[in-house]
Symmetry: C2
Subunit: 352 residues, 2 copies
Amino acid sequence: MSQGSGKTPAKRPLTLRDVSEASGVSEMTVSRVLRNRGDVSEATRTKVLEAARELGYVPNKIAGALASSRVNLVAVIIPSMSNMVFPEVMTGINEVLEGTELQPVVGITNYKPEREEAVLYQMLSWRPSGVIIAGLEHTEAAKAMMGAAGIPIVEIMDTDGEAVDSAVGISHRRAGRKMAQAIIDAGYKRIGFLGTKMPLDHRARKRFEGFTEVLAKAKLEIADSEFYSGGSALKKGREMTEAILKRNEEEPLDFLYYSNDMIGAGGLMYCLDNGIDVPGDIGLAGFNGIEFLDGLPRKLATMDACRVEIGRAAAEIIAKRVEDEKAPTGEIITLEPSLDYGETLKRKKKPL
Amino acid sequence: MSQGSGKTPAKRPLTLRDVSEASGVSEMTVSRVLRNRGDVSEATRTKVLEAARELGYVPNKIAGALASSRVNLVAVIIPSMSNMVFPEVMTGINEVLEGTELQPVVGITNYKPEREEAVLYQMLSWRPSGVIIAGLEHTEAAKAMMGAAGIPIVEIMDTDGEAVDSAVGISHRRAGRKMAQAIIDAGYKRIGFLGTKMPLDHRARKRFEGFTEVLAKAKLEIADSEFYSGGSALKKGREMTEAILKRNEEEPLDFLYYSNDMIGAGGLMYCLDNGIDVPGDIGLAGFNGIEFLDGLPRKLATMDACRVEIGRAAAEIIAKRVEDEKAPTGEIITLEPSLDYGETLKRKKKPL
DNA sequence: AAAAGAGCCGTTAGCGATAACATAACCGCA
DNA sequence: TGCGGTTATGTTATCGCTAACGGCTCTTTT
């Protein structure tokens, strides 16, 4: 800890007027040069540019946005940034927005509806050009705000429900069903479920519902389940797996369905460490298709949630609507999650 | 894909005037109520609040910020969001800022200086109350902008160098030295280095410099090294480890130093899968101390980079400076990275 | 009872930019 | 020579909000 150099001149921030005076033209002309809009002679253009550079002028977008009522920001509201899935969605969003004038601004809700509402309010008060928000479940107030904002809204990740405007995602119910079907087809019977203790993770809930629905049709049900919250997901996966397996030694489970790949990976490592034959003795599957699984000793079965693609599609909807006022609203894009059998889920037993 | 409901009324956005008319008081009074500032009678307060709620009014911060020249945003400029380290820094920043009126806005540079410059320019044009930016290395133009912005600037992660204003971080050179010393003390001699192919990752470079410096003092040098870029770090860690070990079978390596925990974890899994005794035959160490290591079959040695703490401290500096104009500038906080021996690095051989 | 203060609310003048409309200079061509 | 048409620049009026100040009504004080 030490005292610094105190370089900052702390002078009044520069405005267009300063540049205009320095270059001997009107503010308007400076504005035109800086925005590359309207006709300006090459001579004044260079003169202005030079003056601006010399002074170190940085335009004030606040004033600009107020005057033009155009804000090139896109609000992106997501529950978390620390679980691999949303960073990938961001990647997709960025890919698309980099080709436009739009800039994403991220808000984190920590899966709390009231926090989401607050973040949304904050974001909307900056009058962004569009909103990308995770999930279809929001407080009434949040839905009302989005409905009244008069800007494109894209709800992402999930399409099982009613969207305020547009939506891009997968059907988590369908993802659950699909996985259940694959497990049943492979001949597994005693299935355990391991997930997070999060009543507000609607997507996990929907997957679970789809999953149990298909099991029920096959006259099966979840034999046992285990939930966690917080901590290292990998470690929790291990611990939960140990717990659930030990608890069912008398009538052993033959499949474990994890609500995300990270705990699935932990479970896989537990099984391998303890000489359990996967997928012989027991099959395993996760959800998400995170890249990280490639490095595991055995590839975990999973279902890809199309994260990057969702980000891209959502950003494209916003970009299109910003560019063309009359582009259609209420577009719903449902992506198809693809099942990856990996090396922990046996293929269909009898092809009939 | 389908047509939506078209709920959006697309009417002119609401302003203070609308609320003022609806509640029968002046705009100024509405503004006072909404900001909780100045004296307003309880009666009018509720009247205004009700009108605002009813209309669904959302204040326009653009106008507000312009009028008051106060913007409650803090620009956070970081290289990436997909590698576990910066999300944790964000956690620290958020923890502190949640207790204030300030809001973080994140910009991603992808480790490209010119991108960083562009992002910084964009951010500064919104006249934020402060800037938190990763690293001490920036383009000249970027440094000039920060120097002239007249707002608190905190450079984070690293303190080996000259800061524009304040800085919070660890000495990566020292981290490298410390790890080298521990490795030497444990008696390892033939040391391999595995890292990323990133000439612009200055912090990794500094760690490497510190590392080799201490080795040199002990008359040792890096026996071999291996670099990667892109892809699943876990998988790359495996592959690189296999490559470097095979290449040195004649005169085997006895230690591998990884530039991050993820590739280290991959290397660890490779060793375990192949029956290599860790840390007997070979010792391993990574860098960062990510939580995820807890779930590994054997705990990898690492060095904690104090990520959450860095975020907290940086945010605190900004918050303090925003609150009190005259708070000291140029504060430098150097945190001490702590070595975690885990189970892959033997303890000191002879305590002398 | 007059002065001083507190509480409540309105008026006016920007904040720093841009939209939209002049204006001026210059071109060519009838 | 004069008129339409560019091209290059300036002027004026906002954008929606807040700072600063002023004025009015009651209290409170001495």
